[in-house]
């Protein structure tokens, strides 16, 4: 019997199954485990109460990011609860021999930014973290997804989790993207078409011309948000773009090990004729700069369009009305020209150097709108340094903006960076849930270009008019 054609996902998944359980999940081996201060302390308590050790400490990497302030990082953290969690991460890492990049460490930054930029994330790996945006690492052809704290404890103690194999979906976007259309617009467009639950139960492979031509950072933005359509994760087959990105990074393989790895990585693609449980195809020409108007990432539209009616959307009218009521919007309203109060560029979705280059491309030669508060937050210290080295900081300063220090910041508002109740924020982060950026905050998700256009005009603006 000839072997069935395999998908990229099958190849990576099947090679990591330690044991199959009948009518149960697979015992699934994890190559890289990222931990941060919020979802790990209770897992370490669990280890302690059972008297267990960390089985392979060298496969786990700890970074402080969710709680950290974005100013005065050289001073003690003011919030005692945040300080306590940061201390717990440091103590636990030290106790169990885990690498720890805490505040003040030059490698510190958002977990999903520092993994790739230091060569920790590689093709064909299985990667988990107690954070749903672990899906970011799928951009390298890895199987990467978020887990809960019980599973963090499983990985620490056994390097495995118990996981049923998800179904497979392929999403192809072919054609060429228009001027001013970024990877963030591509993924917001896909989510708006599939809805916030449209890929639940599936692992997604993104394929087609648009992703083949996309930079690694763009691919990370897309895979980052695959969780926002409910997918377990998203992945893109590694190619020359991937290999060029990885080569020379600190923890990437070198010399003979590189050659061996590269030979393996080149086998990581979906074979001709391999079957998916579901396929979707989109045309790049249909994608505009996107913006969300509601309280989940599926509630997005092209920036020149009107807010759809409940009838056009389907689903429960009560839930739809609740959402628009929270946002202070009405059916069929136009988004262009709406007043914006805050702009946030940063997060594991859009906190990489390309995002700041894009932001600066619009800001250059213009001034910050007077009433706008802008939080410009690099994803890591390495990105922060690039912003300075490339002259982007000068452009931002001349326009009246200030640069903050790295961290998750206003994406989930666990630190002091909270949008006040009732205010509107154009945010390059990944979630517009009620209260996500602070109790009562109203979030419009968009690309760095749309954020920049709002930052200089003070209202929702089509960035194509400013390019």
């Amino acid at each position: 019997m000839s072997k069935q054609a395999a998908t990229l996902f099958d190849k990576v998944w099947d090679s990591h199954v330690v044991r199959k359980i009948e009518d149960g999940p697979d015992v699934f081996f994890i190559d890289r485990h990222f931990i941060h201060e919020v979802t790990s302390p209770v897992a370490f308590l669990g280890l302690e109460s059972r008297g267990l050790k960390v089985i392979f400490p060298e496969k786990t990497f700890a970074t402080a990011d969710h709680n950290t302030p974005t100013i005065n990082q050289h001073l003690p953290v003011q919030d005692p609860l945040s300080a306590n969690q940061l201390k717990a991460l440091e103590t636990n890492s030290s106790k169990y021999g885990i690498s720890h990049w805490g505040l003040g460490n030059p490698k510190n930054g958002i977990v999903h930014v520092v993994g790739p930029e230091n060569g920790i994330t590689l093709p064909g790996m299985t990667i988990v973290c107690g954070d749903s945006h672990t899906s970011t690492h799928g951009a390298f052809g890895a199987i990467a997804f978020g887990i809960g704290t019980s599973e963090v404890e499983m990985v620490l103690s056994s390097q495995c989790i118990m996981q049923p194999k998800p179904k497979k979906m392929r999403i192809k976007v072919n054609g060429k993207l228009g001027k001013g259309i970024t990877p963030k617009d591509v993924v917001l467009y896909i989510i708006s078409k599939l809805t916030a639950a449209g890929a639940t139960g599936y692992f997604v492979e993104f394929a087609g011309e648009v992703f083949e031509n996309m930079s690694m950072e763009g691919r990370m933005t897309v895979c980052n948000m695959s969780i926002e359509m409910g997918a377990r994760g998203g992945m893109i087959a590694p190619d020359e773009t991937t290999f060029a990105y990885i080569k020379g990074r600190e923890k990437a393989p070198q010399g003979e090990a590189w050659d061996k790895a590269l030979a393996y990585w080149k086998t990581l693609k979906t074979e001709e004729g391999a079957a998916f449980d579901l396929e979707h195809n989109f045309d790049a020409a249909d994608i505009e700069p996107m913006i969300t108007y509601g309280t989940n990432p599926g509630m997005g539209i092209g920036i020149t369009q009107h807010i759809p009616t409940a009838q056009q959307i389907g689903g429960s009218k009560a839930s739809y009305d609740k959402s628009l009521d929270y946002m202070g919007f009405h059916e069929d309203e136009e988004m262009l020209g709406k007043k914006v109060d805050y702009v946030f560029i940063g997060s594991c979705t859009n906190g990489r150097i390309e995002d700041f280059r894009a932001f600066a491309s619009i800001v250059k030669g213009r001034k910050k709108a007077e009433h706008i508060t802008a939080w410009i937050v690099p994803g890591s210290h390495i990105v922060e340094q690039q912003i300075k080295d490339e002259g982007i900081l000068d452009i931002l300063t001349e326009a009246g903006f200030q640069l903050r220090q790295p961290g998750c910041s206003a994406c989930l508002a666990m630190n002091d960076d909270k949008i006040p109740a009732g205010k509107y924020a154009v945010s390059t982060s990944n979630r517009n849930f009620e209260g996500r950026q602070g109790p009562g905050a109203r979030t419009l998700l968009a690309s760095p270009l749309v954020a920049a256009a709002a930052a200089v005009t003070g209202v929702v603006t089509d960035p194509r008019e400013l390019i």
């Binding site: 009518d23 999940p25 015992v27 209770v42 672990t134 499983m154 056994s158 209260g435």
Partner: protein, 198 residues
């Protein structure tokens, strides 16, 4: 974390007919700062449940004393968003042992099963029937039978089967968790790791 065994649960239920309830609503990020697993129930649905001055919001279902019970019945796509297990902890800590919906987000479903909450996925029509029954009588009793994998609205006798994989069912019924099982495979895992490329 071991939990109480789950076999048959007969209880009234709390109805929340809202779709896409994300884990940021179940437990907002600012309440994730603890380093121990306790006290999360007090902040379950915090911003839907309380005003800024900490007074309860009258129109929120958890503040309506006519509803109570160990079963939460919610709209489609429950538990989307963040992977925070704290959401499941908050639901458990508040006193729920079972969440019924027509669709669950994956990570939430896993987290629930790992800590002893049974997610019961029913058809949209059956979900509507439950909401209708509770509307007619807030004390409507539901019976969730894990061994038989059925849920019944006792007043009307309407019954539906639900799926759960055999391994997870066995764990729930015995109060076991995966960590005990994984520890028993340690030698196998170590030899697997020795052959691993990374």
């Amino acid at each position: 974390m071991a939990y109480d065994k789950f076999t048959v649960l007969k209880s009234s239920a709390v109805p929340m007919p809202i779709e896409n309830v994300d884990t940021d609503q179940i437990i907002p990020a600012r309440f994730l700062k603890a380093t121990e697993r306790k006290g999360f129930g007090d902040n379950l649905f915090r911003d839907w449940r309380y005003n800024n001055d900490n007074s309860p919001k009258k129109d929120f279902v958890l503040n309506n004393t006519i509803y109570s019970g160990k079963i939460l019945v919610a709209g489609r796509n429950f538990g989307s968003g963040s992977s925070r297990e704290h959401a499941a902890w908050a639901i458990y800590d508040y006193g729920f042992r079972c969440v019924v919906s027509s669709f669950f987000a994956d990570i939430f479903k896993n987290n629930s099963l790992n800590i002893g909450i049974l997610p019961v996925q029913v058809s949209p029509a059956f979900l509507d029937n439950i909401f209708t029954a509770i509307e007619a009588d807030p004390n409507t009793q539901l019976e969730v039978n894990l061994p038989e994998q059925t849920i019944t609205i006792l007043a009307t006798g309407e019954k539906e089967s639900f799926d759960i994989n055999g391994y997870k069912k066995h764990n729930m019924m015995n109060g076991y968790d995966d960590i005990d099982y994984l520890q028993s495979l340690k030698t196998e895992i170590q030899s697997f790791a020795a052959k691993s490329m990374y």
